[in-house]
């Protein structure tokens, strides 16, 4: 390896280039374009040949699940075993772009290292997950849909958050993976299911999907205190299975929509609970909000 001189900082041009380069590689990582199987097969065949092997039988399939199922059918591989031998294609953009950018700003790699890095880059630019076995290689197409919330967590309220062309994928609610039917068949999700679900993160997601207001109605919430102003709201108490008593503020926003917010069980009045939602503990200093959206 040559070119060991330490690089202290980027030039202004390199700083600009870094952002463009990052966006370009993020684009590869999140691409939902159909895979370019042929380009990937060529590179993977070269890997096999480097190792003294002939080209494997390729199985190019629509999703990682389809690949894992095929491997199970052909080689009786368990899912864990299959996944332990899987590379992530486009989802390896992070380390590939890091090394490529270093080369771009002057780090010199041995020629063979540079060539191999280029091959890994081609794979990341063309396919989703791939699994090289002795005589067979499984390659998944890229997903057709990847959706995030505004905090860049996987999230989709109306469909799977990651969906492949065979319809397979995963449902995710603000970064929490949830049963697909909660999104695809919303009627299957009831307040009882939501409130007794073992996984707490998924339980929170379920209540948000249903809307706390609907959950409270189903649980026949008891009124603790009701303010005459609907924008201050009504303090409710419910008994949640396995958890116990919880309190919620049912309140109308400035646009007339009614919703419910969990509040601490120590809240005694709707006004106190409303103030708490604004981070105000001293209810005497709390002025009624003019608009809540």
């Amino acid at each position: 390896m040559s070119g060991k001189k330490k690089i202290e900082k980027l030039t202004p041009e390199q700083e600009k280039d870094l952002i463009v380069f990052r966006d370009e590689w993020l684009g590869h990582g999140l691409s939902t374009e159909p895979a370019d199987f042929e380009s990937a097969k060529e590179v993977i065949t070269e890997f096999y040949q480097r190792l003294g092997q002939s080209a494997p039988e390729f199985y190019c399939l629509p999703s990682p699940k389809a690949c894992a199922l095929k491997a199970k059918e052909l080689f009786n591989m368990s899912a864990s075993q299959y996944l332990s031998e899987t590379f992530y294609g486009q989802h390896e953009s992070y380390w590939i772009s890091y090394y490529l950018f270093a080369e771009r700003i002057g780090v010199e790699y041995a020629k063979d290292d540079s060539v191999l890095l280029g091959k890994w880059a081609t794979i990341a630019q063309t396919i989703n997950w791939w699994t090289p076995l002795e005589k067979a290689c499984f390659i998944s197409d890229r997903p057709r849909l990847v959706k995030f919330d505004n905090e860049k967590r996987l999230h989709n309220e109306t469909d799977l958050a990651v969906k492949y062309s065979d319809g397979w994928g995963t449902a995710v609610w603000h970064g929490t993976r949830i049963p697909r039917e909660w999104i695809l068949d919303k009627k299957s999700l009831t307040a009882k299911t939501a409130l007794t679900w073992a996984n707490v993160e998924q339980r929170r997601a379920a209540c948000e999907i249903l809307g706390w207001i609907n959950v409270l109605e189903e649980l026949k919430a008891k009124t603790i205190n009701k303010d005459e102003d609907p924008e201050i709201g009504e303090l409710l108490e419910v008994t949640i299975p396995d958890i116990g008593k919880e309190r919620f503020l049912k309140v109308q926003c400035g646009t007339g929509r009614t919703f419910a917010l969990p509040v601490p069980p120590t809240m005694k009045t709707a006004l106190e609970a409303n103030a708490w939602t604004f981070g105000i503990e001293d209810v005497k200093s709390f002025m009624k909000p003019e608009v809540r959206t």
């Binding site: 870094l18 380069f21 894992a68 380390w95 890091y98 996987l154 993976r177």
Partner: protein, 56 residues
């Protein structure tokens, strides 16, 4: 086959970049590229494959 192919990755061939950059630059590149291009949370997909095949 997996292990042999894994060994063609540049860091497995002894190329580690951090020593070639100042600490600030190394942090900037790691944050911008290494973290910045890993937004896709594929753990969810991984776990879904495991779940689905265990119930198939």
């Amino acid at each position: 086959m997996y292990e042999e192919i894994f060994d063609t990755r540049i860091e497995r061939r002894g190329m580690y970049l951090r020593a070639l950059f100042s600490e600030d630059l190394a942090d900037l590149l790691l944050r911008t590229l290494f973290t910045g291009t890993s937004e896709m949370d594929y753990d969810a997909v991984y776990e879904q494959v495991l779940d689905d095949l265990h119930t198939t």
